[in-house]
């Protein structure tokens, strides 16, 4: 049973929004640990709550729409019920964690690793600035797994 879940999410057809997918693929090639599970998705949905309830830690990887392009950041995230919860398309990390806490009585430690995006235009590759920042992002994730 995985005790750490890595969730790379976003739209891989919209340039830097695909950061989570690109990073998850590279992490899958390098991480060979049974206690680590890596998954990708377009968006966060309530169904993920059950998966989160089964791990000790979750690492989210997503592009940031604020900051200097290529800027790598890391932050802890806590459960919070957001004001707009008519979700089918907009479900953020605090809401997902709150959902996990409410429904399953547990909540993993959660960290968001992100890179500030340069472009969300229609393309399947990352922008040069974000692509150059991926190694630093991966290092950050590896350190979290230590």
């Amino acid at each position: 049973m995985a005790r750490v879940l890595i969730v790379g999410y976003g739209n891989p057809l919209r340039g830097d929004d695909g950061l989570g997918w690109h990073a998850a693929r590279r992490l899958s090639e390098n991480i060979r640990r049974e206690d680590v599970e890596i998954l990708t998705c377009h968006q966060l949905t309530p169904e993920l709550a059950e998966r989160l309830s089964q791990v000790d830690r979750v690492v989210f990887i997503d592009a940031a729409c604020v900051g200097l392009p290529g800027e790598v950041s890391q932050q802890s995230v806590s459960p919070a019920v957001s004001a707009a919860v008519d979700f089918t398309h907009h479900f953020d990390i605090p809401a997902l964690l709150a959902c996990t806490q409410i429904l399953y009585g547990v909540c993993p430690q959660a960290v968001l690793c992100s890179v500030a995006a340069e472009s969300f235009e229609l393309m399947e590759s990352l922008s040069p600035a974000v692509e150059a920042a991926v190694p630093e992002l991966l290092e950050q994730v590896y350190r979290l797994l230590e």
Binding site: H42, E50, V85, A95, I102
Partner: protein
């Protein structure tokens, strides 16, 4: 002074819509319109693309029901290729279609509609959402998650991913089913069945709480349309079109996909991007019909699975002919989940389900093809024409929400007339106007080919454009 109320956008629906309620000089509701305010244009921008790209392109119309578009599109492409796809490929497409029906119906019922039933139509809108349900009824919220997961896992196992899987292709499917995946799906059936049965049990008990809503939520005579097979059985993948009237009498039957234009016309109105399909023999606007779970259960002779047939017998008791109240879309949705789970199990146990023969190959052999399937929200139709090089020259898509457009408009008017008093706006009465739309589970993104934020803004506007009152949430 005549006034109007605008609900913009409509919340807890897929996509972006707006409702305008027109009041007369005395503050009584005179008319109401449900507008779909965005357009996506898939029918035009696919022109010039090779036909075999269509399933993948069309799946991008929607993140909730991409499988339905994949299937209708692939069936239209099968017609262009003039191939009969292998039987196992049909079985596998059916399983994926049913898995999507289960997860989409669960999303509609548990995440979008259940706050109204569990917390009350007049409850605080800040609490009347899925988080409110999680806090007050965590067991029910977990059941919703379980049924969503059930369907999504099947889609992921078959198609490689939950959203926009590319496994359904012209001529069949790209990969056969493995024994491991079959057994993995079968292992999830008992829990899914138990979950939907207890959901039906509690939901049916709530009917007594909503007599007024059942009586007024788009409760009027109309036609109903959907697919049935030769025996009149509930089907979602293949079959022919059938129309029944409000008394339950069949008015047209055995309609082949390629003949749809003989029976379905498409009108347009200047105030909405969503077209208004109508039953051609009755003309526009008299040819109003409904599609989707309620319609499907009104047109069939039987469901074809034992547990769903037992529920269907109870459902039929709700009307003397067809069941007319759109409130019962929710009940029909749950019965279809039950039927879907039973049927998935049945198909998975077929002896040929693991056959490696799952795809037919051919060049285009016809210049025109129509594909029809039942999407969660109703009948989905893809119609393509190609040139001799296999390039798309024409595409017409009629989406479930389009078929229901006239009925949704009439439903909004009926609810508004009953609940809205223009001299005094209350959130609960406007929520009922939205709730009648939710009963149809419209997918506005699909229907116009839409993205948008969904805060709710309601304005009371005088004929000269002055905002007389405003509510926001």
């Amino acid at each position: 002074m005549a006034q109007q109320i605008t609900i913009n956008p409509v919340t807890r629906a897929e996509g972006h819509g707006k409702i305008t309620i027109f009041l007369d000089d005395d503050g009584f509701v005179r008319d109401a319109q449900f507008h779909v305010t965005q357009i996506r244009g898939f029918e035009k921008f696919c022109e010039g693309r090779p036909f075999y790209e269509m399933p993948s392109l069309m799946a991008r119309i929607c993140g909730i029901c991409p499988v339905s578009h994949l299937i209708a599109s692939a069936k239209a492409c099968d017609e262009l290729m003039a191939v009969e796809i292998p039987e196992t490929a049909q079985y596998l497409r059916r399983i994926m279609n049913l898995a999507q029906l289960v997860q989409s119906h669960a999303l509609s019922f548990f995440h979008l509609a259940s706050p109204d039933f569990l917390l009350g139509l007049d409850s605080d809108p800040a609490q009347r959402n899925i988080f409110g349900v999680m806090q007050s009824h965590p067991n029910i919220a977990r059941d919703g998650i379980l049924l969503r997961k059930f369907g999504q896992q099947i889609i992921e196992l078959l198609g490689g991913k939950r959203i926009h899987p590319g496994w359904i292709v012209p001529g069949g499917v790209s990969e056969p089913l493995t024994v491991e995946k079959r057994d993995q799906i079968l292992a999830t059936i008992p829990e899914a069945l138990a979950t939907i049965q207890r959901t039906l049990d509690w939901f049916k008990r709530t009917f007594d709480n909503y007599p007024e809503e059942i009586r007024t939520f788009a409760n009027f005579p109309s036609l109903f349309m959907g697919l049935v097979n030769e025996q009149g059985e509930l089907v979602h993948y293949d079959g022919h079109l059938r129309f029944v009237d409000a008394t339950g009498k069949i008015v047209a039957d055995g309609i082949r996909a390629e003949d749809y234009q003989d029976y379905i016309g498409e009108a347009v109105e200047p105030w909405s991007y969503l077209k208004f399909p109508y039953y051609k023999p009755a003309g526009y606007p008299d040819g109003i019909y409904r599609v989707g779970p309620l319609a499907r259960l009104n047109i069939i002779n039987f469901c074809g699975t034992p547990l769903a047939d037992a529920e269907w017998a109870e459902f039929r008791e709700l009307g003397r002919g067809a069941v007319l109240s759109s409130f019962h879309y929710h009940y029909a949705r749950l019965i279809e989940i039950l039927n879907g789970i039973e049927r998935i199990e049945h198909i998975l146990n077929k002896p040929d389900i693991l056959s490696k023969n799952v795809r037919a190959y051919a060049e285009p052999n016809r210049l025109e093809g129509v594909g029809i399937a039942e999407a969660p929200r109703g009948t989905l139709l893809h119609h393509y024409r190609i040139n001799e090089d296999g390039i798309i020259t024409y595409a017409n898509l009629i989406i479930a929400t389009g078929h229901n457009n006239m009925a949704m408009n009439r439903g909004v008017l009926q609810v508004a007339k009953h609940f809205v008093n223009g001299t005094k706006m209350q959130e609960g009465m406007l929520n009922r106007v939205e709730a009648v739309i939710r009963a149809y589970d419209p997918c506005l993104s699909c229907s116009t080919h839409a993205v948008g934020q969904m805060p709710l803004q309601i304005q009371l506007v005088s004929p000269d454009g002055a905002v007389l009152d405003e509510l926001k949430r």
